[in-house]
Symmetry: C3
Amino acid sequence: MTGKHQKVALNPKSLPAPPARFSHGVRKGGILQTAGQVGFRPAVEGEPPTPAGPTLREQMLQTLANLQAVLEEGGATWDDVMMIRVYLTDTAHFAEMNEIYNAYFDEHPTEPPAARTTVYVGLPAGLLIEIDALAVLD
Amino acid sequence: MTGKHQKVALNPKSLPAPPARFSHGVRKGGILQTAGQVGFRPAVEGEPPTPAGPTLREQMLQTLANLQAVLEEGGATWDDVMMIRVYLTDTAHFAEMNEIYNAYFDEHPTEPPAARTTVYVGLPAGLLIEIDALAVLD
Amino acid sequence: MTGKHQKVALNPKSLPAPPARFSHGVRKGGILQTAGQVGFRPAVEGEPPTPAGPTLREQMLQTLANLQAVLEEGGATWDDVMMIRVYLTDTAHFAEMNEIYNAYFDEHPTEPPAARTTVYVGLPAGLLIEIDALAVLD
């Protein structure tokens, strides 16, 4: 309003509505921050959010697609991403997560790759992975 | 000193002193980052930090008040907040946290709302919630 | 490329190669974000990453050295750091972590100190601490 930059909500139509008063992403000036995304399938009117499947692979690929939708809504690409925070529920998933991660970023090259932190936390029942991203645009 | 922007510590008098060599918040140029806040009551000279109460509601409202104090110390408001990271200890608290979150931001409107990530971690005994926030000012 | 600022990878030679397609740190314009660092010793050709030792102290001091290497690779110092995220595996380590933290930043003064969030998560077997940092440069 009064300032140079306005904060803009990034809520792609493909994502289920956030379960509380938060945005799937926001951009203000050159900074774009996504909310933590999980592997929920594209929203279906009148149905609750549903994971893409029970496996890490299914959920992670959907999570990355959801993140990409938020980035694009904000005019960003993976190339603008500085930091990716990966939340897993089980240390046994680390190797498979890395495989999926590398394959995904083979297909969505980003040069250089973003930084990343992976930690192991609790998540709501049925969810194996959550990811958020910070991007800096020119 | 030599640069355009100086890093400034944000340590509101109402908050107990940090338990180590960190600041409750810092601002440099247009970026403001708070430390993780918990539900400690306003500092009382000579007494150790004490949670506002045993319930999620009491601790969360105090945590949000502490965050607001840090934001204000840095010349920011909730409207400048881009990202809110919520750390809970129990997935069973998610629904109640969302209720409190929505009611709080009904009273402290921010348009559009910040992004948010919620994960479930361990916290020191007696603490049920920790929250930190990233703000971008014009 | 087309923009004002280019994203640059920060991968100090002293650190083991990242275990997946991510960078130990990235800088774009005035924003520098490190990946989560752990207490791995400097890389030895042909050997897998090895923690500096089994104790919190050994791992934490190595982690801080690794973070410093990433910061320096990006032209930053601890003075530019806004936020330090500490991931521990055991709440019983909090007091010792604070002691090591304070002693380290006595020797590496930063005025004012960065903000900090500490939470307790799972980490891969043998690792007791992970830390990442966000810096803002002039």
